[in-house]
């Protein structure tokens, strides 16, 4: 099972001939992911690394190759157009890695996605990965992941790696790991990602890595309280961040009491999640919870 990406994923890379796009297309192929097409306007008819056909438009790529997932590496000023192009072509899942998209561009995109058949992950995210089926739709180092029954959701990219490495080192494998993105407006929220993993029969527990700013963790907490049937282990980054300052991620600014790490931890603890106090113990805390619940 797993969620969103698996053995049925036919991956299209938007921006496949660019620096990041080409590097990560190669790494995904090497990891074992089925990369079926690339899109770079003006390069249609070429082949990427002599194997992957390149098209001028997403519509043509989908028609010719049956691509059903797209990953976007195009620069921020063109990212909204790239996402909407994939949506218009009927791609079911679009993953936008691009960092630095204007917020109002995402406001327009998110509204357009409503009622469409497309789900967006990101932007400003590391993507997602299902280790069992070797499906890497993102920029993460593949070798730290190992198949198992724990799902992981994170707002931050490198924190995905940190959390996963701690899990893998303790022998805790993963179903699907999803980096939802660090921007204020994103395609799939932590709550929606939790919902997906909650309904996945293969996933037995979920590690949730949130951070300061916004109220997405509170919305996740409300979902956990009422619907979650699996244990959730939660960490919130930014306990020590000063208020009012933007900590790299545009979404990571504390405004009002809702945005603080303390408020988020409280909401998640009240909902029944186990709170990880220090980022050094994400793995250890998960191990303890899995043992307590008889899952290990």
């Amino acid at each position: 099972m797993a969620v969103l990406v698996d053995e049925n994923t036919r991956l299209l890379v938007q921006g496949i001939t660019g620096g990041e796009g080409s590097q990560h297309a190669r790494r995904s192929i090497a990891y074992g992911t089925n990369v079926v097409a690339g899109v770079t306007p003006g390069r249609g008819g070429q082949k990427f690394d002599d194997t992957v056909p390149v098209f001028d438009t997403v519509a043509e790529a989908v028609r010719e190759t049956g691509a059903n997932v797209s990953i976007i590496y195009v620069p921020a000023p063109f990212a909204a157009d790239a996402i909407l192009e994939a949506m218009d072509a009927g791609v079911a899942l679009v993953v936008c890695i691009t960092e630095g998209m204007p917020t109002l561009d995402m406001v327009t995109v998110k509204r357009a996605l409503r009622g469409s058949a497309t789900r967006l992950i990101g932007p400003n995210c590391p993507g997602l990965i299902t280790p069992r089926t070797k499906t890497r739709v993102g920029i993460m180092p593949g070798d730290i992941f190992t198949p198992g029954f724990t799902g992981l959701i994170s707002r931050s990219g490198t924190l995905v790696y940190e959390g996963v490495a701690q899990l893998t080192n303790l022998g805790i494998g993963q179903t699907t790991c999803i980096g939802v993105g660090g921007d204020p407006v994103i395609g799939t929220t932590q709550k929606e990602a939790l919902e997906l993993l909650n309904h996945d029969p293969e996933t037995k527990a979920v590690v949730l890595q949130g951070e300061i700013g916004g109220t997405a963790e509170q919305e996740a907490a409300a979902y956990i309280k009422h619907f979650m049937t699996k244990p959730v282990i939660a960490f919130i980054a930014g306990s020590t961040a000063p208020p009012g300052r933007r900590m790299g991620h545009a979404g990571a600014i504390i405004a009002g009491n809702q945005g603080t790490a303390a408020a988020k931890k409280q909401a998640l603890a009240d909902a029944g999640a186990t709170i990880v106090e220090t980022p050094a113990e994400i793995g250890l805390t998960t191990l303890r919870v899995l043992r307590e619940r008889g899952l290990l």
């Binding site: 990560h24 000023p77 204007p102 998110k110 509204r111 924190l159 991620h249």
Partner: protein, 389 residues
Amino acid sequence: MKLHEYQAREILAKHGVPVPQGNVARTGAEARTLAEGMGGKVVVKAQIHAGGRGKGGGVKLANTADEAERAAGQIIGMDLITPQTGPQGQKVKSVLVAEQIAIEKEFYLSVIVDSAIGWPVIIASQAGGMDIEEVAAKTPEKIIRVPLDPATGYQPHHGRLVAEALGLSGDQSKQALAVVAGTVKAFFASDASLVEVNPLVVTTDGRVLALDAKLTLDDNALFRHADLAALRDKDEEDPLEVEAGDLGISNFVKLEGNIGCVVNGAGLAMSTMDVIKYAGGEPANFLDIGTVNDPQRVVSSFKVILADPAVKAILINIFGGMARTDVIAQGVVEAMRTLEMKHPVVVRLAGTNLEEGLRILRESGLPIITADDLGEAARKAVEAANKAA
């Protein structure tokens, strides 16, 4: 990016929001000339990015041009301390000289993007002139929120809802409509993350005016607003952060502790600060180095961190995905050699090209303290900083 009040009110005025007569002055003499043009009765307001200016003596009333010149002379050059500036205050370089307004009622009005729904919302309240977060906490029923569907944008009925909630009718309601419409227009036209009019006032002679204006721009959208990007005032920013930006380290925030941090990724950078604190130390900064494929970026990061005299030790925490740990290791070695630094350096590497990275550190012959995981790295950094302090 934040703007000054005088810049924000110009943008609002351009989009049809009525503001009191006024202009910016950089000297007492300029303030006098402006005051003379307005009949002498003016308010002189310090132009700094922080709020709460009145509390620190940054806003003065003047009844004559003489008084205006004197008030401006007192305010310009002062280190204005407000609840938002921190204890050292912020140097004032200019003042807004504006006509005095006789106020009958004060309201609050703002536009932001609500990340929970992904739509812009108008927020308005009858409790004007107060901190809106305080109002939200104590009397949430006094706040109205009007979401703006991105598919349709602003419609006049949105403004009518606001005017009704503010208790305005007749001609004042019409005037309020123009203010709300113009504020929303300014928000979209400038790709703002916040436009705030606090207070929005009804004057004793029945006019509806934006008495104060605050505008924060979305940094990610500045590429398409060269005119607005030019309004940046670097003097309002921490000098170390400006220097970092000039060296290409854009994600740097200065903090109060003594352990300098170099990390890749914002979430991991915040987590590194957290784990230092958990281990009993204090981080000196937040620094997300981004994807490094140039050792020189590490050297630049070290330069920025070492410019802070409070720093006693440096912690490098890199989980290479896109970034390569061998490039980071080269950068650390090069920084320690070229900067001739005495500070203890703790390095924790993981991920892409780890073996090569560790080999470079080992064979450098430099006294680099290495750590295998986050907890160990933090403990060693705290220990090193305490020993050096």
